[in-house]
């Protein structure tokens, strides 16, 4: 429920921006003034101090040093973080299922080759690999065949995060397929003359679907955490675009004078990740009865 609420909150960003705050997430208002307590007040004071939070439509959570509305950036930032988290999870799932099922079903040299590739990716700490890829691709972007992705595109962190987590999902799937491969229903399918592709799609995939769903839900939470870390370190979402990670990166420089700029996006990350993890656990309990703890047994 909490996650649904956060998603709705973030999806409402354009409504809030257009009808309440009257500004976009990247619009600067350094020399603008707003009414605070009946008095016109600088959004950013001549000494550079930004407006603090207050109960008003515009600048509900205050402004940052560029005079941008923190509330609007928080909502748009949430959209970005969730968008990256979900799309990266889709990429991870597609790649991991393909690799895991192929390796587990065929075994032999195909398994060896795919497993070694996963080992290579796994050998690098996720954050370091993400930083290395993020900083490299940020300058020149990425060209895949005829498709050019600009360095500041959200697809860069999506692809990076989607790839670095593949081994973490492909490994368990491969293990499960290896076990299922020996079951009678697979032998029966082979005996019935079904081809490998049909067996993988029609017989194996339905049996690992609960694992995939649970992993995907937990993966979204991990992706959002990694996106925040990469953006904080300057290797994820590129400025001036808002994400909760970039907001923490911008805010921690002013943590003494405007701690809310760091605390609020930090809290949003904690709540979202927490809700996704609880959701993932619930899914696992619902989809895999064997994993449930049954008191009294």
């Amino acid at each position: 429920m909490l996650f649904v609420f956060i998603v709705v909150f973030c999806l409402a960003a354009p409504l809030w921006a257009d009808h309440v705050a009257h500004t976009g997430p990247n619009q600067n208002h350094i020399t603008d003034k707003v009414l605070v307590g009946g008095q016109l007040t600088d959004v950013v004071a001549p000494d550079g101090t930004p407006l603090g939070p207050g109960l008003r439509g515009r600048y509900l959570l205050g402004a940052d040093q560029n005079g941008r509305d923190v509330m609007v950036r928080l909502m748009y930032g949430g959209r970005t973080s969730i968008y990256i988290g979900v799309l990266a999870a889709v990429i991870t799932t597609l790649l991991a299922v393909t690799v895991g099922v192929l390796a587990g079903y065929y075994r032999g040299w195909i398994d060896s080759v795919l497993s070694r590739i996963l080992d290579v990716v796994w050998a690098f700490p996720v954050l370091l690999l993400g930083i290395a890829l993020g900083t490299t691709l940020a300058l020149g972007g990425l060209r895949i065949g005829g498709i050019q992705i600009a360095g500041d595109s959200l697809w860069i962190p999506i692809l990076i995060i989607g790839v670095v987590y593949v081994p973490y999902m492909a490994r368990p799937i491969r293990g499960e397929v290896l076990a299922l491969r020996e079951k009678e229903f697979v032998e029966a399918a082979v005996a019935a003359g079904k081809g490998p592709l049909r067996i993988m799609i029609a017989e194996l995939l339905p049996n690992i679907i609960s694992t995939i769903i649970v992993f995907s839900a937990l993966n979204i939470a991990n992706n959002m955490l990694l996106e925040s870390a990469l953006s904080f370190l300057g290797a994820g979402v590129r400025p001036p675009n808002a994400s909760w990670g970039t907001m923490i990166a911008d805010g921690y420089q002013t943590i003494y004078t405007a701690p809310h700029l760091t605390i609020v996006p930090g809290l949003m990350i904690v709540l979202t990740v927490l809700s996704l993890n609880v959701f993932g656990d619930g899914l696992r309990d619902a989809l895999d009865p064997r994993a449930q703890i049954r008191p009294g047994r």
């Binding site: 350094i30 000494d47 940020a138 002013t254």
Partner: protein
Amino acid sequence: MTNLRRAITILGITAITASGVTACGGTKSQTAGNSATAGKGADINVTMTSFPDYVDPQLSYTVEGWEVLWNTYVPLLTYRHQKGDPGTNVVPGLAKDMPEISPDGKTYKLTLRPNMKYSDGTPIKASDFTYAIKRLFKADSGGSVFYEDIVGATDFAEDKSDTISGIVADDASGDITITLDKPNGTFTNVLGLTFAAPVPPSTPIDKDATNNPPPSSGPFMISRVDAPNSLVMERNPQFKTVEDAGATEVTDAQVDKIIVTQNKNNSAQVTGVEQNTIDYMQSPPDADRLSEVKAKFSDRFRLENSINTYYFWMNNKTAPFNDVRVRQAINYAIDPEALNRVFGGRLHPTQQILPPGMPGYDEFKMYPGPNMDKAKQLLAEANPADKDITVWTDDEPDRKRIGEYYHDLLNELGFNAQLKVISGDVYFTTIGNTSTPDLDTGFADWFQDFPHPDDFFRPLLNGENILPTNNNNFSQVAIAANDTKMDELRTGQLTEEARKQYGELDKSYMEQAVWAPYGNEQFSTFVSERMNFDKVYYHLLFAHDYTSFALK
């Protein structure tokens, strides 16, 4: 219960991860030396938001680099170690006296002091000066532009000759004779820059020596470099040979060791100085901490006037900035007051190339504003076909913020701007490499190298000085008439008439709106309690003088 326990566990892990995320960018905590070890013999900690571009006297061309290298590599001539205008006077360094200049202004004769040694014990020879000038050209230094008037320098740079015929150095007598193609009113000044500091021939001639800097001739030597994280400066054990040779204008160090560390977190640096774990921070405190520092630490903080210009460069060679109306529109649209607030009120608004305090400065404002209507009107007239723009800036907080401001402004004007924020220690080398793609526009600043207006025109705007690497003419400006005027003015002395004509040159460039200048920044001195605040001073050319660093 199970879910609650899980939730608590997950919350705990997430909180730890979140704090870990924050810690990733935090400062490396340093403990300053014990204040009981006051005076000579102590170590001090210095932090910089950006590491020097090069730890190499012939290549370094940033404020951070010069601050470190000025007291490490001494040229034949140097600048007086004093604050304010007296510090802009050229005085003898490794040379015995000021140069003897021929009546036609083309020949400079100097003599190297005898019996001096580099920090590793190697004798300092007259031919080391020739070698340093050769390195400028072979290593593609951004400073080579100042020495192109030496006879044979261009041929040497273009591999047409193995020697620079205009420099004759006699190691036995120490005599050095430099012949120029034409008189050059700034040549004494440029001989005092670290670009021209002699280095031994063991230094690679065509490569950056950052990781293994040449031995020093100044009061400090670089004993360790871990670029771009830290470097250590220690007393030069051979500096006495330089002092004994009579180089009284080169002042000695007052501390034994200076540890320079890069720290990207300005706020952490401020806290470090406040709590005396950092002895000196090179960058001024960010806007959000400035008022607090001013109010609480007036006994160890002050603002310093500096001669510089902050501007947005625009690539005059490619669309859309190859149209003067587009460049003028940008000048109309920029709001210097907004940028002043980003800098916490430390920016004097400007709209011209020469800064206050520079000879030839004559205040004018050609594009009054901010005037978005006028800007949009000019853009409508120009109707540029290419509206995709890449905006470059570095990751120092105030520079990132002005990049974000500029990016938003360009989008508001109808462009499709993309912001590229790259690390401060590679920023200028990246935008100074003309093969870097998408060099459209971005942040830049310029601090005077020497008190002559030519320094604000020749390296930055002369068409001859669009270099493939270490380029400083970021706007790639080439206006033949102005280049000729610049050359003509440099042959003479800096008379009142010449100053006036430099003022006219400033206006001529701004009529073409080659840049969008917006401010002159004030710097600051902020030191720990154990530092002798009264002794520390800001030099108008080389920023803080590390030989003025002393403990109470």
